[in-house]
Symmetry: C3
Amino acid sequence: MQVAFSPEEILSTVRAERTLGQTHQTVRGISALKAAAPGDLSFLGNPKYKPEVAQSQASVVLVPLDFVGEPRPDQLFVFVENPSVGLAQLCARIEQSLWPKPSAGVHPSAYVAAGAIVPASATIGPLCVVEAGVRLGERVHLQAQVFVGRGAVLGEDCWLMPGSIVAAECTLGARVRLQPGAVIGSDGFGYEFNQGRHEKVPQIGTVVIGADVEIGANTTLDRARFSRTVVGEGTKIDNLVQVGHNVIIGRHCLVCAQAGISGSTSIEDFVIIGGQAGLAGHITIGRGAKIDGQSGVNADLAAGSFVKGSPCLPYQLEQRINVLRRKIPDLFKRVDALESHFLPSNAEKSSA
Amino acid sequence: MQVAFSPEEILSTVRAERTLGQTHQTVRGISALKAAAPGDLSFLGNPKYKPEVAQSQASVVLVPLDFVGEPRPDQLFVFVENPSVGLAQLCARIEQSLWPKPSAGVHPSAYVAAGAIVPASATIGPLCVVEAGVRLGERVHLQAQVFVGRGAVLGEDCWLMPGSIVAAECTLGARVRLQPGAVIGSDGFGYEFNQGRHEKVPQIGTVVIGADVEIGANTTLDRARFSRTVVGEGTKIDNLVQVGHNVIIGRHCLVCAQAGISGSTSIEDFVIIGGQAGLAGHITIGRGAKIDGQSGVNADLAAGSFVKGSPCLPYQLEQRINVLRRKIPDLFKRVDALESHFLPSNAEKSSA
Amino acid sequence: MQVAFSPEEILSTVRAERTLGQTHQTVRGISALKAAAPGDLSFLGNPKYKPEVAQSQASVVLVPLDFVGEPRPDQLFVFVENPSVGLAQLCARIEQSLWPKPSAGVHPSAYVAAGAIVPASATIGPLCVVEAGVRLGERVHLQAQVFVGRGAVLGEDCWLMPGSIVAAECTLGARVRLQPGAVIGSDGFGYEFNQGRHEKVPQIGTVVIGADVEIGANTTLDRARFSRTVVGEGTKIDNLVQVGHNVIIGRHCLVCAQAGISGSTSIEDFVIIGGQAGLAGHITIGRGAKIDGQSGVNADLAAGSFVKGSPCLPYQLEQRINVLRRKIPDLFKRVDALESHFLPSNAEKSSA
């Protein structure tokens, strides 16, 4: 990351209201208050970290308008309405230099089949494959070594990172971002057991992904047996997640890393699924439900549920059980004691 | 998916016994009874869905010979011996148009090392790499951006999807299918701790995969430390599964998504492993055993076992414990009550 | 694996002190004592397998200097100070033939951007992409279809296997090995919920990997939100592991397959994390801690901890609870019995 901001550039980017102190340092990094070294910019995004400002070695600190305090020597306080927003504005500028808009055009090492529709504004990077019948939207960016199979359709401004794969006939809405190695449209896992063998059930459906969806690195989304596997607009899926065939994920959901969703399950809008959680097939997760990490969900969840555990229970109950769980050895001893005092003839039942 | 079947094509494909009603629609999709819209074909594969036929909007419905009912206006009932088989016949036709047999030959953008054996019937798609000493069987299909390393051997009719990888010296039987991003033959995870460092134990074995095996997207199979990691004939492995070094998987097993099998474990024939289950190393899973999703298996399982939980217990016992688990807070209160009534001197032990 | 050692080659490779018996076989495989067939070499690495030597069909057996026993006809005993070390010496020779040192140079099908620094000793295999501003150390080996993004820096002797990906600005120390499909530098999973939508927080940090690190197949390491995600020197990470943004992993750790580490968590040196374990974000795992497979860790762990379970408890306590767990149905019955004898008015509370 090549960051180099002068104090003047920072003031104009974050729309500073006023400043206190000064620094001769060029800002070359961004860091949390505690971890910052001279040359870093930091920020007070959450009031609970206020005491850390006085100790911070950061050369520039974004602080809210009502912040009271004195900068160190060679330290600049920049007062802004919302330090988190200010930081985001700086990050967006850095992001542009990290990921500069590529120039449009097809790299000579890419293979684009005759008949694929590639607008002049699109960028097809080195060693990509675009098969026949593909339609790419305006400004689509296939970064490098990307595969887009027969008849797939990508909306405008999609960005497919290196090694990502969109299999035949799948559809991506506008601004979909695939992280490296993501696979859209692998076959669903469907077999029928017949005469001692698992025979493959053809997987002839597709995957349809809405606008503004992001899919994590090496995550896999299976195509439907028939009809469609669906991911709704605005949903974000983390790395190494498995989405089975015919799953329907609603809009604006979050699915954290290594979660798995079995075939034909429906997830309504605004659901949050924690890391390594597993969902059985053919169930429905109601709108806005939250599933804690490592949970196992085997049955429908009502809208707004918050669950934890495997198999999952309501969050508060599961937490209560987890507190009691460590007292189970003691509980067995207590029951032993009760029995030995009051049921001497049952003493042989003791846990010991 | 470009489906377009006239009613006549459907009747001949599914070998209809007779029909009732008629439709002027061209069938452009396949859907479950409830989800079907005009233009869709649906089917009554399971008697429990019989009441849904009368509500279905499908233009064509495959029904069993003994089905009694009246089609809507513009709806065609097609009577067949087995609607599921009829559907499979239609799907197989669609599959051929989705995945047409590629023409044989080596794409000019692929790299095939001198001395690799590539029969004239094989298809090497764009940007594949085939290293020296590789032997490909008849009609092998490397779709695109596939890697086949030094000395690997692929049986006839193998189909390796985009981005799949077969490392050096590994062997695939006939008709093996690798989903996108599958990795066969990564190094096993073996180190010896010596003078404060983990030193790599060379992983010089191979992976041997039997005929008719399917490996899911982004699944990883490690090569043996020495000798072989083995997957038996007819076994199907889902996405994002980890198979450690020197694992032996028998024939006709199913391994669901995100399961992990640690090194040197042996799995006999016809075993089913649920999603996200984890198996310790150096254990043996007997023939036909079933391991439920998210289970943890730390010891040998007898043939025909059915287990659940982490660490796993017999399925019925685990289910019973899971029912009682939510009553554990109540159980603590009940023991508190017993103690406070009968052991007043022990009241300070109470759970409260 | 093309192994072919004459007995003479074996004697010189393992530095034999003396021999007993003889064989006319060429050694073509390495195998455990029990599994060995004629033509295999085996070894007595652990005294507990001593009784297996007499039954072994191996043509050559490496035994320790104090071993007492008689070889079969056509069987050679080779006495060495440490049979495991002797085996490792043979394996290292086989490894060299399996993975011969590639010749230096850039394959004509690779794309190397102008301005990338590629020393003459480096090997860039077929269909690799090296973007602008990349700096490769001496003897770096990009095997095939590898991606190295803008401004990334690779230390000397790094080996990146097929399909592995290093995103822009990430840094690898000397001798780092990436298994196939590994992804270094995917975006962290960071969003802010604003007006009903998850808005992406730019992920502008990098990943910094120390010397002698190995990263498993299809494992994903996210770049930091800002600053760095770090993996310390000598740490080994297995397949399909997820490492979130801003995670700091210390030196000489082991992270087994399918484990997941959430964002901003710190792991000190010499920690061992079992397969499928999950770590929450923003916690610290003390030096030398051990986390058993499938554990869930939601809070800091002290140095030297050994934990198990989800949520995790000290290992011995968790094991004790797991033993008692299967007696929980019986415990409920015992409390029922106590109540029915002594609290007849409460009988309706019974578990039945």
